[in-house]
């Protein structure tokens, strides 16, 4: 018996063919990975399988019977659960309330009210069973991206699924949390649950999957069996044979030129950052690493000027920073925020309006927007990062996750900054783009600019950084030249300080 067979599924958005006669079969208990460049159609396929989108054409067979999945409810009834690429949570609900979004709340004996006590007990049991610990009593709007992902994972464990679909679950997880997730996946597989796993992190894909299907431009390129799957093979197929110039790590002799950014003893009023000090010099990429909740995001936000400081100082090119986003941009500093939906993009606006927003003033004559100039600039950036869109006037809400992230990156570029504050800039983008972004940042550093690069992917940090600052519990605890560093060394530092902080 095949659990799920997809036959000739197609999907059209207007005249754009996002999926073109897809055929895939998922066997019971297999981990089937789906990979492909940004905009290849992975998320669209998932949304069809879960009844979020209506397919234009094709058939779906569930346990060898034809199935009509017309709504998320139908999919859920069959035993399909999914964690979508963009998180689907109700922001003002607590974690508990969100856990029960797609299943019935347990009722009190009277059958009238919700049994909150039972909910709490069940949730605790579930958290213990899977080794997850998130503050479920807080509203989701106060949770970090990684906590939100964990919450969705937990939610998907609430109901018995036959097929669990994970669309880029690790994009906002740290390595430690990712390991946790891989553990779950193996446990589920052992119980006979099938998994569809989508990721741009090819190491994960090669490690986890039984089979891998590669999509390109809405078509299935190939389905590889476990023994055929290698990173190189995947890249070959994803890029249509072009491959990615996997760059050798170039450690530039840091000339310790100009001091672009100086952060001293930064403390934020909300207590998330409790003492951060570091410097960024022109010509270097400074990697910042830390475990989830270490306060890296908050530190960048404070430097950029939208998180209140309690004490400490920030100097940009020697002069005290004015700690407000407009002034930061004017002084040549730009932030690529971690949360693209909430902090970086105006989803209903088009690419053009999004990308030129911070620099719109410079594209005007007497306040009138020079549309031709604007269009040229935007098209240039779209080309540089191969943003896949119908035109620069497409709303960004219609772009694939990775392409949205590219828009966020391009938007920052248009500011032509001297200092880049990048918070997880390569999340959701495909390997090729990721490597291009790395190269681009190195190029910028080569021109004398400074880059702060925050990532939860330790290997990425080690790959791109000239120097690495480690955060733990809101403090900077180490500042290391990236020479002969091993992942273990950095993790040791993180855990050492975390423990110490606990004992204090």
């Amino acid at each position: 018996m095949t659990l799920l067979r997809i036959e000739n599924i197609s999907k059209k958005f207007g005249s754009h063919l996002a999926l073109d006669s897809i055929n895939i079969a998922i066997e019971p208990g297999e981990i089937h990975a789906l990979v492909g460049e940004n905009g290849a159609g992975k998320s669209t396929l998932i949304k069809i399988l879960t009844g979020v989108y209506e397919r234009t054409d094709g058939k779906i067979f569930w346990e060898d019977k034809e199935a009509d999945i017309e709504s998320p409810r139908d999919a859920h009834a069959l035993g399909i659960n999914a964690i979508h690429q963009d998180r689907q949570l109700v922001p003002y609900f607590t974690g508990y309330e969100n856990l029960y979004l797609n299943i019935d709340y347990p009722l009190k004996k009277s059958k009238l009210g919700i049994d909150w006590k039972k909910i709490k007990e069940d949730a605790e049991l579930l958290q213990d069973a899977w080794g997850i610990k998130i503050p479920l009593d807080r509203p989701v709007s106060e949770l970090t991206p990684s906590e939100r992902t964990l919450l969705e994972i937990l939610r998907s464990m609430m109901s018995q699924s036959k097929l669990l679909i994970l669309d880029e679950p690790t994009a906002s997880l740290t390595d430690k949390e990712s390991e946790l997730l891989f553990g779950f996946i193996q446990k589920l597989k052992a119980r006979g649950v099938s998994i569809i796993y989508i990721s741009h992190r090819l190491e994960e894909v090669t490690m986890l999957s039984d089979r891998v299907t590669v999509l390109m431009g809405g078509k299935v390129m190939v389905t590889l069996e476990k023994d055929e799957v290698t990173k190189e093979e995947l890249i070959q197929n994803m890029t249509g044979g072009q491959g990615v110039a996997l760059k050798e790590k170039t450690v530039r002799a840091s000339k310790r030129a100009e001091k672009l950014l100086e952060v001293a003893n930064l403390k934020t009023r909300d207590g998330m950052v409790k003492g951060a000090s570091f410097e960024v010099y022109s010509g270097e990429v400074l990697g910042i690493y830390g475990l989830a909740g270490a306060g890296r995001t908050e530190c960048l936000e404070a430097i950029y000027g939208f998180r209140d400081l309690e004490s400490g100082s920030v100097k940009v090119k020697g002069t005290p920073a004015l700690l407000n986003p407009a002034r930061s941009i004017a002084s040549g500093m730009v932030l690529i925020p971690e949360n693209r939906h909430e902090d970086a993009l105006i989803m209903e606006n088009n690419l053009l309006e999004n990308m030129t927003l911070p620099v719109i003033q410079s594209l005007t004559k007497k306040g009138v927007v020079q549309k031709k100039l604007e269009r040229e600039k935007v098209q240039q950036e779209m080309k540089r990062f191969a943003v896949k869109a119908v035109s620069e006037e497409q709303p960004v809400s219609e772009l694939s996750g990775g392409n949205q992230q590219k828009v966020v990156f391009a938007k920052a570029l248009l500011c032509n900054p001297d200092i880049y504050l990048c918070d997880e800039p390569t999340q959701a983008v495909d390997v090729k783009t990721r490597s291009e972004i790395h190269q681009f940042l190195h190029g910028q550093a080569g021109q004398g600019k400074g880059v702060v690069f925050v990532s939860s992917d330790l290997y990425e940090i080690l790959e791109v950084s000239d120097r690495i600052v480690v955060f733990s519990e809101g403090k900077t605890v180490a500042d290391l030249q990236n020479k002969d560093l091993s992942p273990g060394q950095i993790l040791d530092i993180c855990y050492h300080f975390q423990k110490e902080a606990v004992f204090n």
């Binding site: 879960t50 979020v52 709504s71 998320p72 409810r73 859920h76 979508h84 998180r87 689907q88 949570l89 109700v90 922001p91 003002y92 609900f93 309330e97 029960y100 979004l101 797609n102 019935d104 709340y105 009722l107 009238l112 009210g113 919700i114 509203p139």
Partner: protein
């Protein structure tokens, strides 16, 4: 549940001030009962508005719906039908019309603001046609006035009905899964849809209940006044939303909520009552009421920031 005390403190302050200024008239049990009866209409219609706002929609037809409910009830009473029917028919009509509002909004995915504004215009025209534009008061039997004008153990029936409605809807919205679903739809429609919640269904029900409560308000008003005016309910519209919005400030997550609406209506009612008792001229009442509301908002925010 209630996690922001700023507006509440402002509310208590108002009561204390009025009590000091007018101990013999304001701070009496009689007047307290009087106030609960006076705000009963605003609270009942406001509860309906709260439901619609909880699913992030708007119903601008509630005023016209209340007027219509009132004239239907009064016309029926005048033709000698029993009280129960006189209340039941408008309530059913309100439910159906509200459901239609919801159905148009959800089926065609159009803005509820325009839809219900247009529906309000239609209802207004219909009410006018139905009454010929004049107040209905002839031949209304005393039995019809029972609900609006009777006290039970010293407490007006209207106040009892109001508290019962508040209690029921508070329970539904905060303790039952229906309420959680309603708030989920309002909080993130897409996530709710993807989670398999029947968003259209919940929206339709919210609109239907809102229409029902608006029509009930009108019918109760007719019973209270012993007459019904073709635009008699229109005045509730803005104040009902003012009550809901004021009520949103008393919870931390700022969502429309039943107890908040009760509280908001109480503030509005107490201000009107207290300032009248103090014999403040009307224009000054307006100025004072406006300023106190703004002050309450500000205090509430300042209080939260300090925390």
């Amino acid at each position: 549940m209630i996690s922001s005390y700023g507006t509440i403190i402002a509310g208590v302050a108002i009561i204390v001030i009025f009590s000091i200024l007018s101990p013999g008239s304001f701070a009496t049990i009689d007047n307290l009962i009087n106030i609960t009866r006076q705000i009963s209409f605003l609270v009942i219609i406001g509860v309906g508005a709260t439901l619609v706002m909880a699913v992030k929609e708007f119903d601008l037809s509630i005023g016209a719906m209340a007027s219509l409910g009132g004239v239907i009830a009064a016309k029926m009473a005048a033709s000698g039908l029993p009280l129960v029917l006189c209340l039941l028919v408008p309530v059913i009509a309100g439910f159906v019309i509200g459901f239609m509002n919801g159905a148009i909004v959800t089926k065609f995915k159009v803005l509820s603001f325009v839809t219900t504004l247009a529906m309000g215009t239609i209802l207004g025209g219909f009410t006018f046609w139905f009454t010929g534009g004049s107040t209905i008061f002839e031949n209304i039997p005393d039995s019809f006035k029972f609900i609006g004008q009777t006290n039970v153990g010293g407490i007006p029936m209207l106040s009892i009905i109001m508290f019962a409605i508040v209690l029921v809807f508070w329970y539904i919205m905060s303790q039952m899964s229906f309420g959680r679903r309603i708030y989920a739809v309002g909080g993130n429609e897409k996530a709710s849809m993807i989670s398999g919640i029947n968003i259209k269904g919940f929206k339709n029900i919210a609109f239907a209940l809102c229409g029902m409560l608006a029509a009930l308000t009108g019918a109760l008003l007719a019973s209270r006044l012993g007459s019904a005016h073709p635009t008699g309910g229109n005045g509730f519209f803005l104040n009902a939303y003012a009550a809901v919005f004021l009520g949103m400030t008393i919870v931390k997550n700022g969502v429309p909520n039943i107890l908040g609406t009760l509280f908001g209506a109480a503030i509005i009612g107490i201000m009107a009552n207290g300032l009248t008792i103090l014999e403040i001229p009307t224009f000054l009442q307006d100025v004072i009421t406006g300023m106190i509301i703004i002050a309450a908002l500000i205090i509430q925010k300042l209080g939260r920031d300090v925390k």
